[in-house]
Amino acid sequence: MMRVTTEADFAAALAALPLLGPQRLRKLLAHHMPSEAWAVIRGEHHANPSVAELFSRQFLGHKLRERATVDHLDATRDSCTKSDIFTTFIGDDNYPPILAVDLAPPAVLFWCGDLDAVNQRRVGIIGTRAATAAGRYMATQLGHDLTAQGIAVISGLARGIDAWAHRGATKPSLWDEPGSLTNGRPIAVVASGLDVIYPRENSQLWRDVQRHGVVMSESPPGTPPEAYRFPLRNRILAALCEVLVVVESRVTGGSMITVEEAQKRDVTIMAVPGSPRTSCAAGTNLLLQQGCAPVVEVADVLVALGLDHRRCFPDLFDPRHRPTDADERILKLFDDESFGHEAVTLDQLLVRSKVDLVNMALALGRLEADGWVVNNGGWWEAVGPSRA
């Protein structure tokens, strides 16, 4: 059976050509439709003068011509069909307008799910891959609450904060209810090809985001997660955001690249404050120092979006058992300023509280069972909303 080769198929095949990077592709597609561009590469069509200059290097033009075969076209089309990957290109009807007006739009965009999700109100949540319990909690909570308010949560499906934000956004309880139609649909921008799930432990989350919203990538199917693709991915992520919330970040790192890209695009950047002694929060605290608006609850983000924050009721009811007075005293230790960081060891708790091991163990057991503290690889951390 012969399928009609659409413009999108040509675009996918062009994007999958080696040696044709995002910049060259953008220039090529700015002057030619994909089918025409394909013919240009194969030397069957006259190139626009500014494009011709690009391929003037004998070697490059020759190499590209060699690769641009009908087999390549079919192979790209098949791998897209097999994994339900759709393609759009700059100038196409499907192409998200918000990206079309960007500084460095992806010339060809692959997506799985429903690309309409891009037309909602959008907030990006990003942060470090090595997060604290508090950071994880914050990301999950923001992801959940924004989704419930009908706002799309954008993130990168990386380890750490990214994954936790989308985990909040795809929480089953949100999507089971009849009201799930008004939910914001999550958006993920990834660096690898859409059939190459990275990191693997997020595969379930990846599928959930795809089911409820959209996963998109600039890379053609089969592209491995190469390091240089992540900063490129971050620029698309930044371009899609109306507001970018940084939950936890070190002074250097991928999140800060996204922040820079967002600054270039005049995207509102907000940051969740953290302890000044945690290196995990050094980046976000720096952003706050430079004048970013702080985020401590979802209403802050809603205000930044110009939405009515009054429709967002804070969860007044905390389902957890109130700790007994003795346990409360131990819980207070977690807020102790003199601890260098928020996670504490059993030793530190014992020294500070003067409680003996047996009673401390009992108290921690009760607090853990009720969801006040978690044990993370030997360190104890307090979780949940702060006890006002």
Partner: protein, 506 residues
């Protein structure tokens, strides 16, 4: 002419008596040793010849054949030199056969005729119960650890000949009876530890119940320092344990204290480059005991646990369960004791910091680091304690912690309770003995049930928690059933070392 002399060789940590038969007959002058000698044994020819000549004794220029009787197994070492030399003297009728028949000979000969010590004197002398044994002067105290009466020592071959002929009396051995005096000097005290109450308690519980212990913490948190204090709070070895430890150390040719018996529990901390053979034993024909046997009745401390070869660590699993290691080779197989208390120390992650918020490793890197220890090995650590660097206030405070002596007295009491109750330490309790001696109260059962249901505890972990809880109760003097508080403490000292991953928490 023929003579037969008694000596012994070493296999593992046991001595085996054997007869050295010497025959001198007509034929081309020459010297042959038969009966599967190893290279060191074969070299006896040159040493014995030189020793005889430099002692002013004669070397028969005839056909000499030496047979190491009770063949079938390979014999190693230079310890048979003296027996061969005396045998040659008997065949030359310099010595009468009857004046040698009550003796066994255990020494290497120097070229000047002096007697030198051989490895494994303690088990070797132990195997020669029916004879009086002649050893080199510098291993007399060792030899006397097993046999007080029947050990003699002379400095040279010439001296030995005159003693055996009855011309001179046996030289008096100077008794050096200050047992263990040089051992306790390098035992460090618990009072040096500042703060770190959980880690201290873990040490105390480990000592009282012989529970294996893992310290997880950043560099400089004092993991090694804590571990080195463990032998100090263990009780002194009892007579038969002390003898066993002394025999193993002697067989491995390690220094034995001047008192003869090793009284302090041994503390072995091999470097992480240790090979499989170095760890479990074997390697030579004599099957030298490895680190796990040397740590028998004491502590095996593995610092930087993650840096050990995975195969070496997994080789520990069977000895940890059985308390002994069976080494099988094509020509021989031995069983070596390996009942040790394992203490491990490791960093929590590649960057070493571990604490969430400080550590820069992402989840995958931490997991990969921790995956180096196989699950079964990790499960065998009853106590897993996170240690952090002590607070500055604690470090600078003048306040000293409890002394080792104080802790040791509590440990001894708890051990006594356990031994009188079940005849073994708590870590050795089998599942049915646990039901009998460590029944859980209703509230304790609920606590355990909730942990099991949440998947925090495996089946093996369940029994381990109960054993540790029993020890904690013993230390507190609660002799009845095990209560919620004991189980809670046991759970708090057995942290899950895996970081929280996506999917663990909803």
């Amino acid at each position: 002419m023929f003579a037969s002399m008694r000596s012994a060789t070493l296999l593992g940590v046991q001595g085996r008596p054997l007869d050295v038969e010497v025959h001198v007959g007509v034929g081309l002058p020459g010297f042959t040793i038969v009966g599967q000698p190893d290279e060191a044994c074969r070299e006896a020819r040159d040493r014995v010849r030189a020793a005889l000549l430099s002692s002013g004794l004669s070397w028969p220029n005839r056909r000499i054949t030496v047979n190491l009787a009770l063949g079938g197994e390979r014999k190693g070492g230079a310890g048979l030199d003296l027996a061969i030399a005396v045998g040659l003297l008997v065949t030359q009728e310099i010595l009468a056969p009857e004046c040698c028949s009550d003796f066994a000979f255990l020494a290497e000969l120097g070229l000047d005729g002096s007697l030198r010590s051989v490895p494994g004197v303690v088990p070797l002398v132990g195997a020669l119960t029916d004879r009086q044994v002649i050893v080199a002067p510098n291993c007399v105290s060792e030899a006397r650890a097993v046999s007080r009466r029947s050990v003699y020592s002379v400095a040279t071959l010439g001296e030995l000949v005159s003693c055996l002929q009855g011309d001179t009396a046996w030289p008096q051995v100077i008794p050096q009876e200050h047992e263990g005096s040089n051992e306790s000097a390098d035992v460090v005290d618990m009072s040096d530890v500042r703060g770190q109450p959980a880690a201290r308690q873990a040490l105390e519980i480990a000592a009282a119940g012989a529970h294996h212990l893992l310290f997880i913490g950043p560099p400089g948190a004092g993991k090694s320092m804590l571990a080195r204090r463990l032998p100090g709070i263990l009780p002194q070895l009892e007579a038969d344990d002390a003898l066993m430890v002394t025999m193993i150390h002697s067989a491995a040719n390690l220094a034995i204290p001047t008192g003869g018996l090793i009284r302090c529990p041994p503390f072995r901390s091999p470097h992480h480059s240790a090979s499989m053979i170095a760890m479990v034993g074997g390697g030579t024909a004599a099957m030298r005991p490895g680190e796990i046997s040397l740590a028998s009745n004491g502590v095996l401390f593995l610092d930087e646990l993650g840096e050990f070869a995975p195969s070496v660590l997994d080789a520990l699993r069977q000895p940890l369960e059985d308390g002994l290691v069976r080494l099988s080779r094509a020509k021989s197989s031995v069983t070596l004791p390996a009942k040790f208390l394992l203490v491990g120390a490791t960093n929590p992650c590649p960057c070493g910091e571990g604490a969430p918020g400080v550590c820069v490793c992402d989840e995958r890197m931490r997991l990969r680091y921790l995956r180096r220890f196989s699950g079964p090995l990790l499960d065998r650590f009853d106590l897993r304690v996170a240690v952090n660097r002590p607070d500055v206030d604690d470090l600078l405070a003048d306040e000293h912690g409890e002394t080792s002596a104080l802790v040791a007295s509590r440990v001894a009491r708890a051990r006594h309770i356990a031994m009188t109750r079940s005849g073994c330490l708590n870590s050795m309790l089998t599942a049915d003995l646990l039901d009998e001696h460590a029944a859980l109260t209703r509230s304790a059962m609920q606590l355990v049930r909730s942990q099991l249901e949440r998947g925090r505890l495996t089946g093996r972990g369940y029994h381990r928690i109960r054993r540790v809880a029993r020890t904690i109760a013993d230390l507190q003097g609660d002799l009845g059933s095990v209560d919620e508080q004991h189980v809670a403490a046991a759970l708090a000292l057995r942290i899950g070392i895996q970081p929280i991953l996506l999917g663990d928490q909803s």
